[in-house]
Structure formats: structure tokens, C-alpha cells
Amino acid sequence: MSTSSSHIIAVIPAYNESKRIRSVVEGTSKFVDRVVVVDDGSSDDTATVAQRAGAFVVRHGENCGAGAATMTGIEAARALGAEVIVTLDADEQHDPKDIPALLQPLLSGQSDFVFANRFGQRNRIPLIRRFFNAVGNLVTFATTGRWVNDSQCGFKAFGPRAVAEVRIRMSGYEFCTELVRESVQKRWRVAQVPIKVLYSQYTLAKGQSFANGVKTALRILLRSFLR
């Protein structure tokens, strides 16, 4: 696969992110051919702001969850001819400057799917976040049999094979674990790349609550057993 001919599309699921989506879209546009923003039923101007910033916007009529919005973005990207897809969060947590590093294993043909790893380099991550992520990693390992250092990170990259084969069925945050399962089931070659993470009061406040985390873990375990 040649680097120059690859059609790279970024998918950004967004819910009520009108204050931050512009900078995320503008920052991401520098590293990809096109940016697709999925407005997941926001009650603010997220879609309008994203469109003005140059993104291709797909709007959910109502809030369906991060997993559902990501899959909608992937379907839109496929239809737009994407060969490589990068997904990232809309809350400025991820630095778009990490996109080239994330794409490198795909463009060199070494991997089909890349996980970003917020714990792979020195990042100021609150202890409680580290704890939740460790629990997420353990639940993911218990249900998929694959250990991923940062299984719950929304920053990921899909190579041509993964773009063609991926199918996310989980609507909420548990889609991150489902993607690990997809990588096991479909035997994708995976890589893990250390990235920077930018936590602010806003991103911390927007994160999952403990109750949500427990609910997500239970859903993952149940689904993997009853599937």
C-alpha cells in the first residue's frame, strides 16, 4: 500500500461539542484527506460549527451513543472511498499531531489496526482514570483473550482490511472492547502506538462515571457470554 495514494478519512463522533469541535476538525484536517463528523443528536450547534470548519457532517436524529456514532462515521467514510480511517474524540483530548505516528504501521503494511496508548509515554493522567482504564483492560482481556495496554481509548486507526471488515454492534462506550474482539476474531495484525493525551477539567468532567463504567463492564461480559 502506498502512502501517497491512500485515501485517509478521520471520523469524529461528537455530542454537544460546539465549543471544541472547530479546533479538533481544523487540527485533524492537516493530517488526513477528509474529516467526517457524526453529530450524535446534539442539542447545540455542533453540526453547524463542524460544517463551517470544513468537515463532512452526518447527523443522527437522536443520541445513539459513541459506538453507534463511530459506526455511522465508518459507513460514511467507506462510502466516501476511505482506505484508511482514523477515529478520535471531539473533546480535544487527543492531539491530531499524533495521527502520522498512528498511521505509520498501517501505511508501511505492518498492521491492519492500530490502538493508541495513552500510557505509553509520560502523560499527566489522574489516578482514578488510570484505575478505570486498568479495570477496562482487565474486562477486555477476560472477554476477548487479548491484552491491549489502552483498550478504552477512542483514538484508533483502521487499515484497508479493517475498514472493509469492521462491524460495530455495541452502541455505547463498550464498542472499544468490541473492536478488540473484532481484531481477535478477524485476525487483524495490530500495533500499539504511544500518544499524548490532553486532559482538562472539561474532558475529565465529560468522562464516564463509576456507575457507567460498571454498567459498561457488565454489558461487555454479558454480551461476550450470551453472544
Partner: protein, 117 residues
């Protein structure tokens, strides 16, 4: 040696069928090898308990249930939980259908196909 009851014949057979079915799903790539392993463990445990009921005595000792009757009640609670969880999964399937509709409407409204050209 105690005579073997019909329950002790039927249950291991059902377990065996369930294990074969789970691995057929693995072969069709609908389940992962890991999930196949989890199911094998689960159904093997059911078969072992049916074939060697004395295992329950050991379980009661380990878990603190005072007698087999208590263990039976707990087992049925487990079965009920399984049914509730199945209903949850069914509800999620309905949710997925709903999401599919929202998605197809969103992609249609965005005129993705047109913009791709």
C-alpha cells in the same frame, strides 16, 4: 457403584451438544476461540456436576452453602438471571434495529453517495 439416573445421561449429552455447537460457531467465525473456551468450561462444569453430584458437597464447603437444597436454590437463581440477561440482550437487539434506522436516515440525509462522486 450407584445406578446412573436418566438425568446423568441426558445432561452430559446436552452439554456435549452445546460444546459442539459453540465450537461450530467458532469455526464459522461467529465466536472467538476464547469464547469457545469459556462455553466449554461452563458446559463441562454442568456435565461434571450431573455425573458426580458429590462435587456439590465440595462446592457447599467452599461457598458456604449449608446443604444441597441451598445450592439448588442458588442454581435456579442463576437460571433466572440467565433468562433476565437474555431478555436484556433481546432489548439490545431492538435498540440495534432502531440505531440502524437512525443511521440509514442520517446517511441518506447527508447524501453520502452523491458527495462521494
Amino acid at each position: 457403584m450407584l445406578p446412573i439416573t436418566p438425568y446423568q445421561i441426558i445432561t452430559p449429552l446436552i452439554s456435549l451438544l452445546a460444546i459442539v455447537y459453540a465450537w461450530s460457531l467458532v469455526a464459522k467465525q461467529k465466536k472467538t476461540i476464547w469464547e469457545g473456551g469459556l462455553w466449554t468450561l461452563f458446559w463441562s462444569a454442568i456435565a461434571v456436576i450431573a455425573l458426580f453430584p458429590d462435587v456439590l458437597d465440595w462446592l457447599t464447603l467452599v461457598t458456604g452453602f449449608k446443604d444441597r437444597q441451598n445450592a439448588l436454590v442458588i442454581t435456579f437463581l442463576g437460571v433466572l438471571s440467565f433468562i433476565v440477561f437474555s431478555l436484556i440482550i433481546r432489548l439490545e437487539e431492538l435498540e440495534q434495529r432502531h440505531i440502524k434506522m437512525v443511521r440509514s436516515m442520517a446517511l441518506k440525509d447527508a447524501e453520502v453517495e452523491k458527495k462521494a462522486q
